[in-house]
């Protein structure tokens, strides 16, 4: 049955969704241009854009595979090769500037095993890591994961710490991991490094770290309703009063 003329075809809707979203840029003002190849197709884009903004300039609209645009959320992993280079490089699209002759594709998601565990019920030793991630024993120390990491984490080192049950070092080294998944996409041993790191940090937080003494003191203070009066004042204050109090607040040192 023929479709009604007023109904947009799928192809029309796709074409619309792919319209450039970068606005307010006048092409005549742009001095430097580079050619990049997104999934094999060439686009001329302004040279000072990041991969993310360049893709938007070229007409892509990101619904997923983008987040904070500040290099923290780990959503916009990219794989690219530069013209004439054999090396396959990785980065975050929001943090990497385009270069002439760059071939690239986004890796917005890495399919990964994410086991469910209860850290309260697990022993604080290497066996918990091997139970949920036995494949860590397959690590050949090739260091491909560290090479791929946009956070400059020594990813291999923290997997090696996992293998010998060194939770403290594991937590320390993997602390800045943003779970972009690029390491896992490159690992020949099919290890999902960031999930190993997360379990390790959780175990270390639960069992390895000392319980903070000041927290106990503060909980006691809260139980004794030490701050209730001040909170009451704030709750009842007018907007003007709140603004005034906010401006006059005592701040901790940065």
């Amino acid at each position: 049955m023929a479709k009604k003329k007023t109904e947009k075809s799928v192809m029309d809707r796709i074409a619309e969704a792919n319209k450039p979203v970068t606005t307010g840029v006048d092409e005549k003002d742009i001095k430097q241009w580079v050619m990049i190849y997104i999934m094999g197709r060439g686009y001329k884009v302004p040279a000072d854009l990041t991969i993310l903004t360049a893709m938007e300039f070229a007409g892509y609209r990101f619904v997923r595979g983008v987040g904070c645009r500040q290099g923290f959320c780990g959503a916009c992993g990219t794989v690219y090769r530069k013209a004439g280079e054999y090396k396959l490089q990785t980065g975050l699209a929001c943090q990497t500037r385009v270069e002439d002759g760059m071939y690239l594709v986004q890796i917005p998601f890495s399919p990964a095993k994410k086991p469910i565990y209860n850290i309260q019920k697990e022993p604080y030793d290497v066996s918990v890591l091997l139970k949920y991630f036995p494949e860590i024993a397959r690590c050949v120390s090739c260091n491909t994961c560290s090479k791929a990491c946009p956070q400059d984490i020594e990813t291999m080192d923290y997997i090696q710490c996992a293998l010998r049950g060194d939770f403290e070092e594991l937590a320390e080294i993997s602390f800045d991991c943003i779970r972009c998944g690029l390491c896992a996409m490159r690992c020949p041993a099919e290890i999902v490094q960031y999930n190993v790191g997360q379990l390790g940090r959780r175990m270390y937080g639960r069992y390895g770290l000392k319980k903070p003494e000041h927290l106990k003191v503060r909980i006691k203070e809260l139980e004794a309703k030490k701050f209730d009066k001040e909170l009451d004042v704030l709750e009842k204050a007018s907007k003007e009063k709140l603004v005034e109090l906010y401006a006059a607040r005592v701040r901790e040192k940065d």
Partner: protein, 292 residues
């Protein structure tokens, strides 16, 4: 105090913690500090015999780069398996120019190009050649007189002959160590046999049978205990005695010790350094005390 670069390996940090703790304490008693190499990784576990597989040599060679980064060219290791893997990979690396270049190229992120110039020393060799059994004998506080100890070499300390720490056909290094501690070495036909290694994962029964036979033989020749330097041999000979007993009701259990535990006993170290708590079959109190 003399210092030497030390490669622990994963097992010394986990299931063989009794090996590491006794090793560190014994060496300290002998005036040697074991300095753990920074950022070490797994040794590679098994030396890869495949001729076109260089990937599995990255792990051992990377460790040797770490040794160089410390400014050292000699590293001591205890675990027979780590020793064998590091040693054989290093030999292969030294002998093959093309592979050497490929491996270094692949590890371009390392600041150092490895040249094959690190010496890998098994701790028993170190005790024999750099400390001397005579000196060890002088340091013995509790001579283990009357204690009969069967040295168990297994495969990895002696094979292949290029990687052997002693005469592969007729070794005596562990016997000499045992004598220096005042105990009596017991020769038995199974001392160079394989413990069945990783079959322990999928075929416990095969390992149990081998364990039964090894221990039966050592017992027949009068041994009170078995001595090893391999955490996998230790596991198969010690913990697998449970399965051995299930399968062979006439099995007589026997303690299996790391050589460093026996040394710690003789040197008069504390229980916390000897760490029998991690051995499956605990050495008989009477047996130990009557000999100390």
């Amino acid at each position: 105090m003399q210092k030497i670069a030390y490669y622990p390996g994963c097992t010394m940090k986990t299931t063989a913690k009794n090996f590491e703790d006794s090793a560190i304490a014994v060496f300290k008693k002998l005036g040697i500090e074991l300095v753990e190499i920074p950022r070490w990784n797994c040794c590679g576990t098994v030396y890869s015999l495949t001729s076109d597989d260089l990937m599995h040599h990255l792990a051992p060679i990377r460790n040797l780069i770490r040794v160089k980064e410390m400014g050292c060219d000699k590293v001591v290791t205890f675990c027979s398996m780590c020793y064998n893997t590091l040693k054989q990979s290093n030999l292969r690396f030294q002998q093959n120019e093309e592979e050497r270049q490929k491996i270094n190229d692949f590890m371009y992120r390392e600041e150092l190009n490895y040249e094959g110039d690190v010496e890998i020393v098994q701790a028993l060799e170190f005790l024999r050649d750099s400390v001397g059994f005579k000196k060890i004998a002088e340091k013995v506080k509790n001579p283990l007189n009357g204690l009969k100890v069967a040295p168990y070499y297994g495969c990895l300390l002696l094979r292949p002959k290029e990687a052997s720490i002693d005469n592969p056909e007729d070794p005596s290094i562990v016997e000499d160590l045992i004598k220096s501690l005042g105990a009596e070495p017991v020769d038995f036909p199974y001392k160079n046999e394989c413990c069945m290694s990783y079959l322990t994962v999928n075929h416990k029964d095969i390992v149990a049978e081998r364990t039964f036979n090894i221990i039966k033989s050592a017992g027949k020749f009068g041994a009170d205990m078995i001595l090893t330097s391999c955490p996998l041999c230790e596991y198969n000979l010690d913990a697998r005695q449970r399965e051995a007993l299930e399968k062979f009701p006439d099995h007589l259990s026997m303690p299996v010790l790391y050589f460093t535990q026996l040394m710690a006993m003789a040197l008069g170290l504390d229980d916390k350094d000897i760490r029998f708590d991690l051995n499956y079959i605990k050495p008989d109190d009477k047996l130990i005390k009557s000999n100390i």
